[in-house]
Amino acid sequence: MEVSDLHTYYGKSHVLQGCTVTVEQGCVAVLGRNGMGKTTLLRSVMGLTPPRSGSVQWRGEEISRKKPFAIASMGIGYVPQGRRLFPSLSVEEHLTLTYRPKRTANQWTPQRVYDIFPELAQRRKLSGSRLSGGEQQMLAMGRALVTNPSLILLDEPSEGLAPIAIERIVETCRELRKANISILLVEQNIHVAAAFAERIYVLLSGVTVYESGAKAFLENPDLRQKYLGL
């Protein structure tokens, strides 16, 4: 996926002011402080806040003018910030609603999601909103996985979670990498990004100002101080 020179507005406010990100195989993390446009970037890619200019190429096809459901059905999974589960749907319904079968041996089925997150299997009949934070994040990921995406957009998966739950999420992301699913991760928690990202972009006021391999950035305190204040 190639995002180039994306400009997105919320009403009159110019949030993304030229954002360029490339995701090939692997995991790319976009870092940045609060309010820098990270979430907007994912929303623009997904067509939820359509960009005013710039392009999003997915497997050689321009998708920036497409509707969200069309983009989703082209193999892009979305895990929104704050999980945004459906309070009226049970855990099971979350997984059957978005399930899109794929004729390959290792497709993601609701059962396979239960296999990697057994705690969800025990809560099948419960409303999505009555799970713990960690379980909610698992369900949000599971619901994206059953669409059988080739790329998954993860928006702040660690937000508000206990360290042990974060560990589960990181573990799952590593599994996804093994299953050949690419990840575009947006995070404030650089430890999560460090755990499995291969490339790093830094977003500052809606502009991608920095790009490098993950190690080069994370092991350089000056760069971290400069862009993230950490």
Binding site: P68, A72, Y78, R84, S88, T96, L97, R100, T147
Partner: protein, 286 residues
């Protein structure tokens, strides 16, 4: 005294049955699409009139029910696909558009069916006098209640036991996230709007068979529908059931004991609910 009470309660239940059919579609459409269809009353009137013409021509009441409801469903579907879709998300244009449609329907109906009150003729087999608990009550009203329960049950089945229903609920909860997960919310919109129109078409034929259809019924019915769904909580099926039952009894007893205030009375519970629980009895905060 006892007989009078029983009759009033049965009248209230009849009224509630119509109220439910009226409100259920509107509340679903609002819950999902956030669009307040102000031509709901006009749809009712038109559905009733079409039913009337069919009964008049064929003397076949069941056929009238089918014709009235299906034609309104079709109208609703086309209206949503060709007009509403263009102003999606704009409250004011949506309001103006649906009001405009209701005016057009009302005037066209006046031109076709005239200004005299009309009632659909019920065949005797659908309206046998039924003796129950010491009184005699028109059988059609029991059919009405039965149909309403059947509709409630079917809606519940569709909403809670099918994948289509799950996508409707997901769309009501969070249409953005649903669409980002591959649910074609536009299609669901069309379906729900057409379903809502179908239901109000049914209500028109049912209502026209025991009340009167006349110019002006459309606004009365629209007012009732709005009160029903505001009281029950917009988007909630259960809320619509409960508020229909409350308002049905209130209207029935109001008509008997304080006829000059009966129309005003139905606004009382709505006022109270709006003051202490603005999202309605079973509604969720929007």
């Amino acid at each position: 005294m006892y007989t009078k009470f029983l009759i009033l309660i049965l009248n209230g239940l009849t009224q509630a049955a119509i109220f439910f059919v009226l409100g259920s579609g509107l509340t679903l459409a609002f819950g999902l699409m956030r669009v307040m269809n102000l031509s709901h009353g006009a749809f009712y009137l038109l559905g009733g009139y079409i039913g009337y013409s069919v009964v008049h021509a064929t003397h076949n009441w069941p056929l009238a029910l089918v014709a009235g409801s299906l034609s309104i469903a079709l109208l609703g579907f086309l209206f949503e696909r060709t007009m509403l879709v263009r102003v999606r998300g704009g409250d004011l244009p949506e309001t103006l558009l649906t009001i405009a449609l209701s005016m057009i329907i009302a005037d066209v109906s006046l031109a076709i069916w005239g200004g005299h009150p009309l009632t659909l003729n019920l065949p005797a087999y659908l309206n046998p006098p039924i003796r129950i608990l010491g009184i005699t009550y028109p059988g059609f009203r029991f059919i009405l209640m039965g149909l309403s329960v059947l509709i409630a049950f079917s809606l519940w089945l569709i909403l809670y036991r099918t994948k289509l229903g799950a996508s409707v609920r997901a769309g009501v909860d969070d249409r953005e996230t649903a669409s980002a997960l591959g649910v074609n919310v536009d299609k669901i919109y069309s379906f729900v709007f057409a379903l809502s129109a179908l239901l109000v078409g049914v209500a028109g034929v049912l209502g026209g068979s025991y009340l009167q259809l006349s110019p002006g019924s459309d606004t009365t019915i629209l007012t009732y529908s709005l009160v029903i769904i505001i009281l029950g909580g917009m988007g909630s099926l259960l809320g619509t059931v409960v508020s229909s039952l409350i308002l049905g009894q209130l209207l029935s007893f109001g008509l008997a004991y304080a006829p000059q205030y009966s129309y005003f009375l139905i606004f009382v519970p709505m006022g109270v609910v709006l003051a202490i629980r603005p999202q309605g009895l079973f509604g969720r905060q929007v």
